[in-house]
Symmetry: C2
Subunit: 417 residues, 2 copies
């Protein structure tokens, strides 16, 4: 018999149907018992009259149930299954590390992560990762509609291009290679091919930070586009992308922010003023960012604020300076409720500028040679941004630890499960 999902039962009142799912909860009363079955669509109630029928297996055992659908306004979805024939589809589960039927999991972070295989089944956990999936879907939808091409660039790289200290080493057929910290140069190179590209993939950071906001491996949503006038065009794309990511997540039960059509933009110098910071500061401290977040809400009713013009020296060396306006650059951050959500910039696109910038910073050109070749071969003005998926989701739903929004997090202390 074809399986019916719990959400489809109401359309089958009076019929014999088959459902299948996990034993979410057994409630054994004196004269009758209830079996709550969980499937990917929700919960279904099965009324069991045979004494002892639910004794042989515990919660999370996978069952198939053939039964008759009857209306019962008190049951989940307004229907329940009666006269059931229950078949075990998994081994009977005897012991569980957590109780999934409770409305809140109520376990410590280590338990949550050590037993991810089962804690992820809790509805409160499921919807976090449905949100992640929706965010990725929204990201792609917006970019596909604007003529972007998805690319897949290598994660094993031959040289450690962004500060050797924070890169993982790989034993590569007896030699040494590294795990890519970002697809930065590859996506720039691909602007030379497709003009507009995006990539969704893992990036790796060997930074020994033991904080609630750092992971050793995370998912980076990367965008790069060519033939721009300046970074403002990149910001416009980012605005549409973030709006699409949030739109796609509607209906999952989270309270989500509204992305204004025009996100307010502050120049870095102005941002310092608003935050009451020393005008000589070269970066924004967390307290400054919070003050700017408050300003955005107060003055523009916006949870989002763009800050542009960060001092060039505080940004990655490939950031394009603002011509004639030293020390400012064409780098920007998107703040969400006073926290950095996304960074982006117009990039340098001329080889001579790369060489000069590396020299100014006292960095050797040699390790970058293979990546920089492309800038001698005709690159248009371009820019882009990268969204850290887990950090995005974390901020969107106000999670306190990034590990709560990562399926199987990797950090200084954790490489399993």
């Amino acid at each position: 018999m074809q399986r019916v999902l719990s959400s489809q039962l109401a359309a089958h009142v009076g019929q014999r149907v088959r459902i299948a799912g996990w034993t979410h909860r057994r409630r054994v009363l004196k004269s009758v018992s209830f079996l709550i079955v969980r499937d990917r669509a929700g919960l279904a109630q099965v009324v069991v009259s045979t004494p002892g029928a639910l004794d042989g297996f515990g919660e999370e055992t996978v069952v198939g149930v053939v039964g008759t659908v009857i209306a019962n306004p008190a049951a989940p979805g307004g229907v329940e299954l009666t006269e059931p024939v229950i078949e075990l589809l998994s081994e009977p589960v005897r012991e569980l590390p957590v109780e999934l039927f409770r409305p809140e999991l109520g376990v410590t972070l280590p338990t949550l992560l050590d037993h991810a295989a089962v804690t992820l089944r809790h509805p409160s956990r499921q919807r976090v990762f449905e949100l992640s999936a929706a965010a990725i879907r929204g990201f792609r939808r917006v970019l596909d509609a604007q003529g972007y091409t998805e690319v897949c660039t290598p994660k094993i790289v031959g040289s450690a291009t962004e500060s050797g200290a924070s890169v993982f080493k790989v034993d590569y057929f007896g030699g040494t290679a590294y795990l890519a910290q970002s697809p930065q140069f590859y996506k720039q190179t691909m602007v030379g091919v497709f003009e507009r590209v995006y990539e969704i993939g893992p990036v790796f950071r060997a930074e020994p930070h033991d904080t609630s906001r750092h992971l050793a491996e995370y998912v980076s949503l990367d965008v790069e586009l060519g033939f721009i006038q300046d970074h403002r065009e990149v910001m416009a794309v980012l605005r549409d992308v973030v709006a699409g990511m949030i739109e796609e997540a509607a209906g999952l039960g989270f309270e989500l922010p509204v992305v204004p059509v025009e996100i307010p933009v502050l120049h870095f110098a102005e941002a310092l003023k608003i935050a009451g910071a020393d005008p000589g500061e070269l970066d924004l401290a967390p307290a400054h960012e919070r003050a700017i977040g408050e300003w955005g809400l107060r003055e523009h009713g916006s949870d989002f604020v763009f800050v542009e013009g960060y001092p060039t020296l505080k940004r990655a060396f490939y950031t394009h300076p603002e011509p004639g306006q030293a020390p400012y650059s064409r780098g920007f951050d998107l703040l969400f409720r006073g926290l950095e959500l996304v960074s982006g910039a117009q990039r340098l696109h001329k080889y001579a500028d790369y060489v000069a910038t590396l020299a100014e910073r006292g960095e050797d050109v040699a390790p970058y040679e293979s990546y920089l070749e492309v800038f001698r071969l005709g690159m248009p003005p371009h820019g882009g941004f990268a969204i850290g998926l887990e950090r995005f989701v974390m901020q969107l739903i106000g999670a306190t630890n990034i590990r709560e929004v990562t399926l199987f997090p990797r950090d200084l202390h954790r490489v399993t499960p």
Copy 2:
């Protein structure tokens, strides 16, 4: 002035417009010169009357051109730009490792790969990676429509689960970790959460194969689904996915195969017979696969043939045996024109079966413990498959070397660019 794409010029006859792109070709004649500009939409012809105007820069230099659009049936797209004002948007390019304006690149594989940053710009190269992007798009479209959830699982893992010899070691904060050879156990685990999942991501193989079909890193398109009756349901999903991937690639100028609504299915034993092989064989040799490919075309007019029931011993240990039909399993291959395109199977879903199978094979359970926990916690019957993106594209377009369909390939000898 807003930029117009080459493909939009015909709508602007009589107007002054601005195009931008790469100097694809300069053709300097006695009285007039032509500048062919390449952008992401195609080529545009610019008529240059000023002598010497094209002398200062070479092919691949990025230019912006403001000009008047006039109709000329002899020009690409039926229009050309006259009275141009040319602006250089990149440094002038002087030397190129290849000539991109020729219809065929005509370079050796090492040149193609060493100079990928520029060879990828050739139209013949671009469309290969447009095909890759389309294939990924089709993969997602089909699965999204069938209620699958996209997941992102870690690529750094704590134990080498599928034969230690072929796994890359990572120096992980002073300890040893490994690069995931596949998301196999993670996607199975996630069936316990979402029932139907897919993942698109890199996988890593340290196999020292130096062949035209092996990469050290490739993109794996992974699918796993629960509550199946048997592997036939997995094969039905695979059929739809492959059809969607190919449909999405229409219009890129490749001659693409038709995926029949019902792909012919052969049992392994029958396949051996058709191939004229010894009935005691435990696997199909390349010559056998070719014979089966010919059979599919001859008997069913199909480029695709499913072979099911491969002997359990020759498949991964998590493959579900065909009950009561030893030595056969519920593992299958999809052959395309006589070559394996995709492998899949129903998997074991009971912990006891995993333990028994590992014991039979003389393998220790210990390194798998962390992954196998989930099978004690209620897992439904499930199965799935993995499509190697590069190998898929390679076979689809008949490329002779997998490196030709990989943006920046990684192999025994190559970890750059």
